[in-house]
Symmetry: C2
Subunit: 140 residues, 2 copies
DNA sequence: TATTAAACGATAATTATTATCAAACGTCAA
DNA sequence: TTGACGTTTGATAATAATTATCGTTTAATA
C-alpha cells in the first residue's frame, strides 16, 4: 500500500500531475478493474472509499489520465452512433483526429487467424479490423 | 427514381415496414452517404428534402433499419466510454449482447497483414482487432 | 508558512438518444 | 373505394452521458 502510494507519487511527478487522495483512489480503482469499465462503474467503486467524491471529479481525472497516457479509451467510437450502409464483410481505416472512417475491402487484408483457442463458449460472429492512424488531411 | 422507389417498396414489404415518404428519403440519404454518418448528419441531409421532418423520426427510422438489418452500426462501442488500463498492444473479444470486453493477447493472433497499399498519406498508428460474437454467458 | 496554480465539489449546461402521445397516414379486407 | 386499425409522424419531455462553470479547498514549492 505504501509502495503503491509511492509508485503513484512518481507516476504523477513524471506527468506533472498533483497527487491528490481522489486521484490516487480513482487510479487504483481503475487498475484493479480488468474488465474495461465505464466512468459510472468507476465512480461507484471509488465511492466506497470516498463517499463524498463528485462524479465530475471522476470524469475529470479519467480525462487527465487519458491525456497523460496513463489510460486509454477502448475505442474511438464512443459517443454518437456511426452508421454503416455497406453490408458486405469489410474493415475500416479510422483517423484518430477527425474520426473519419474509410472502408477497407475484406480482400485487402490477410484473413485474421488465431494462434490459440478462444475462451470456451465464445461463439464468433465476425472479425472487425481497424487500421488506426492519421488520415492524409490530419497529418499535415 | 421510379425504380428506386419500387426497390424500396419491396424492401419494406420484405421486412414488414410501412412505406412512408420520410422513411424513403431517410433511406436514400443514408445509402448515398458512403462515409459512415452519424444521425445528426443524416438529419441535416434529409432536411434538405423534407424541411419539416422531426429529428425523432430520423432516429426512429435508423433504429428500425438497424433492427431490420437494412443498416448497421459501425461499432458496438458507441455510447458511454469504456476504459482501457492494459497499455500493452493487444486485441479484444467483444460480446454483442452484454458488451463485455475481454483482452486477447497480441501474440494470440497472427499479425494483421495488408495485401494492398493503404490510401496515400494515411499513417498507421496501430491495428485493432475485435473478435465479435456471443460470450459463454449470453449464448445460453 | 505564504503564495499560487491545480484540483475539488456542486451543479448548470450541453449533447445524444429515447419515450410519450395526439394527430396523420398506410395497409388491407370488405 | 372506403373505413377500421395498426403504424408512423412531429412536437416535445425525459433520460443518459459528458463537459463547463465557479467558488472553495488543497498541493507544490519557495
Ligand atoms: Mn464501413
Ligand atoms: Mn483491453
Ligand atoms: Zn483525419
Ligand atoms: Zn455476453
Amino acid at each position: 500500500m505504501q509502495f503503491d502510494a509511492d509508485q503513484f507519487r512518481s507516476l504523477c511527478a513524471e506527468h506533472g500531475l498533483a497527487v491528490t487522495h481522489q486521484r490516487q483512489v480513482i487510479y487504483q480503482a481503475l487498475m484493479s478493474m480488468h474488465d474495461h469499465p465505464n466512468p459510472e462503474v468507476v465512480y461507484e467503486k471509488v465511492r466506497k472509499r470516498i463517499p463524498s467524491i463528485s462524479l465530475a471529479t471522476v470524469y475529470k481525472n479519467i480525462k487527465t489520465f487519458v491525456d497523460s497516457g496513463l489510460l486509454r479509451e477502448v475505442s474511438l467510437h464512443h459517443g454518437p452512433a456511426r452508421l454503416e450502409t455497406n453490408l458486405d464483410p469489410h474493415h475500416h481505416l479510422v483517423c484518430i483526429q477527425c474520426k473519419t472512417i474509410v472502408d477497407l475491402d475484406d480482400g485487402d487484408l490477410e484473413p485474421v487467424r488465431l494462434k490459440k483457442k478462444l475462451p470456451r463458449g465464445f461463439s464468433v460472429q465476425r472479425y472487425s479490423v481497424e487500421v488506426i492512424g492519421l488520415c492524409k488531411h490530419c497529418s499535415t
